[in-house]
Symmetry: C2
DNA sequence: CCTGGTTATGATATCGTTACCATATAACGT
DNA sequence: ACGTTATATGGTAACGATATCATAACCAGG
């Protein structure tokens, strides 16, 4: 609509002076500044951000890539990020990979095409070698998920420890037949968590049974599914470590429906400490991940990278995990 | 990095021809087209989207304003929107108003500054008179929430009916002392839902007691809170209609903790039919809102408005609500 | 009175694309 | 042979802002 030139014409000043007013440049006569502001008001002038972006080479926009926004873990992460971004005058583009590599790559292209100033990866589907090329177009950092081959800043939790912590807890409760449900194997976070599980089992001299392992499960329905597969087994596990509170909730829901008592017949431990863990009955024992803190720190680091023009600086920040004991174990 | 001019120089052609290749213009010699594509590949050329936006006056970006992303209702809505947007090559900017008018207005500014092609309002904090001015800068439509004074396209549910439906159900179960917990009064959706409640109560010849009404409640903790305030009453209600499954879940959680049996001592009905409603024990009877459908339809309408350049076309699409009976009533 | 810094303003080039107009050859019908 | 249309290409002016350079008035210090 109204452009800077029209404001200039309207005031009899040059567009340069108008621009100075807009950007609070010091050397502008007070009377003229007022005049310009009035004209802007009158014409309903607003700076066109596409023009500013082109000229200034900055977008004030950040993309966050997650794998499933309906997962409360990601909702909370994104919530914390959005809050900080908004406070700093940044926009947040929500990119959902839906666990697909192609979608993730398409979202990374945003950096190439200069639609965003930086990208936060809260979920990683592709190998580092496919992501790395994008780092030359702007800052990329990971939050929550990670790749040890990658050299990018990261805000993560010690997943090996998390896996260990949960498993130890089950062992301390006297369990020996422990099942494990995790995400996709190709994900390092998933493998690390499993490593922690293995370690605790090994320490206790317990064997890991193939038929007690479930992979690539995320949601409530997956949890229900797993329950049935477990209970179809000849020798049933007495405890399960689920890779997320939603899965745990699904297991518990179905267990109760089939009169399998939790935790007496089957102990269940989740992961994340989502609100739901405290809501259902019995409350889910879980590994607390500091979702808010992770999101906030990641965004802070991103801002820092953008404003100080740092690129592939390598920095790993590890946030604490914690066991939260409730009634499901 | 590499611009269209460099590709032009590299091929010995004009930037116009390169642009034609990029945009699949028909009149380009096949051999030259190939040559351009090779040069683009070699130089790692990618069109700069800020320049395109400026030139083309389109951003391929849509903003969605919600009030709280951690509310699963909004997560699901946004999920459906993001999916469709991505398929059509659009970006989605997540705008969380956190129930604050100022934030909402700041987000509406995105349309003025040409950062987005359109805005979907899934939550409305401001009066129509404060939103209306923005409609002249681009398409705005509402999804879920609405304002009868507003003339913008809407995708909504019949909230009066929803309120009526839930209340009737409680009445049919024999309840007469029915409490009601809703959102903020200034929201029309909230008032309509309450109107439905009133109507059902009136039809049954039941009185509405002031001390049974709770306003401005949204989350799990609010639900817990409400339970305590209800149970501090001399004459306790035997049923409560909560304006969201999270609130209902909070009420139930706390009820159980204080040995108040659901539904025998207290029947609880929720709203939305979020996954949680089916998960907790007892399952929450609730009013199903077609979240996916609402999100999808809203985004479809937005696309239509953008591509056909429609503005304040008034169109109201009402999607069906449904009572889902579980064990909490 | 001259030099040099502070204050104030404007002209112009530039960011990277694409729309529009101009030009040129080839192909075609009459 | 000649106008007409389809095919192919390039030059240039936008889109709307701001960085840079140039200019000029003013005041202070020597």
């Amino acid at each position: 609509m109204a452009t800077i030139k029209e404001v200039a014409k309207h005031t009899g000043l040059s567009s340069t002076t108008v621009s100075r007013v807009i950007n609070n440049h010091p050397y502008v006569d007070e009377a003229k500044r007022k005049k310009v502001l009035e004209a802007m008001e009158e014409l309903g002038y607003v700076p066109n951000s596409s023009a500013r972006r082109l000229r200034g080479q900055r977008t004030n926009t950040i993309a966050v890539i997650i794998s499933r926004i309906v997962n409360p873990f990601f909702s909370h992460l994104v919530d914390a990020m959005e809050k900080l971004a908004a406070e700093q005058g940044y926009q947040l583009i929500l990119c959902d990979s839906r666990l697909e590599k192609k979608r993730e790559i398409r979202h990374l292209e945003l950096l190439k095409t200069k639609q965003v100033d930086g990208i936060i990866l809260a979920s990683i589907q592709n190998d580092w070698k496919d992501i790395e090329p994008y780092t030359r177009y702007g800052p990329i950092l990971s939050c929550n998920e990670y790749d040890s081959k990658a050299s990018m800043p990261m805000v993560v939790c010690d997943q090996k420890y998390g896996g260990y912590l949960g498993t130890r807890h089950l062992i301390e409760r006297g369990h020996t037949k422990i099942a494990y449900a995790g995400g996709a194997d190709r994900i390092e976070l998933t493998r690390d968590r499993f490593t922690g599980f293995e370690q605790a089992m090994k320490e206790a001299g317990l064997a890991i049974r193939e038929d007690y392992l479930f992979t690539s499960y995320y949601g409530i329905d997956d949890g229900k599914n797993i329950f049935h597969r477990m209970y179809a087994l000849e020798e049933k596990p007495t405890a399960i470590f689920a890779g997320g509170d939603e899965v745990a909730a699904g297991v518990i829901k179905e267990a109760k429906r089939f009169h399998c008592r939790v935790p007496d017949d089957l102990a269940v431990i989740g992961y994340d400490n989502q609100p739901i863990a405290d809501l259902i009955d019995p409350g889910i024992t879980t590994i607390d991940q500091p979702m808010k803190l992770m999101g906030t720190r990641a965004m802070e680091m991103m801002m820092d990278m953008i404003t100080h023009n740092r690129r592939t600086m390598y920095q790993k920040e590890v946030l604490p995990l914690q066991l939260v004991v409730r009634q499901s174990t």
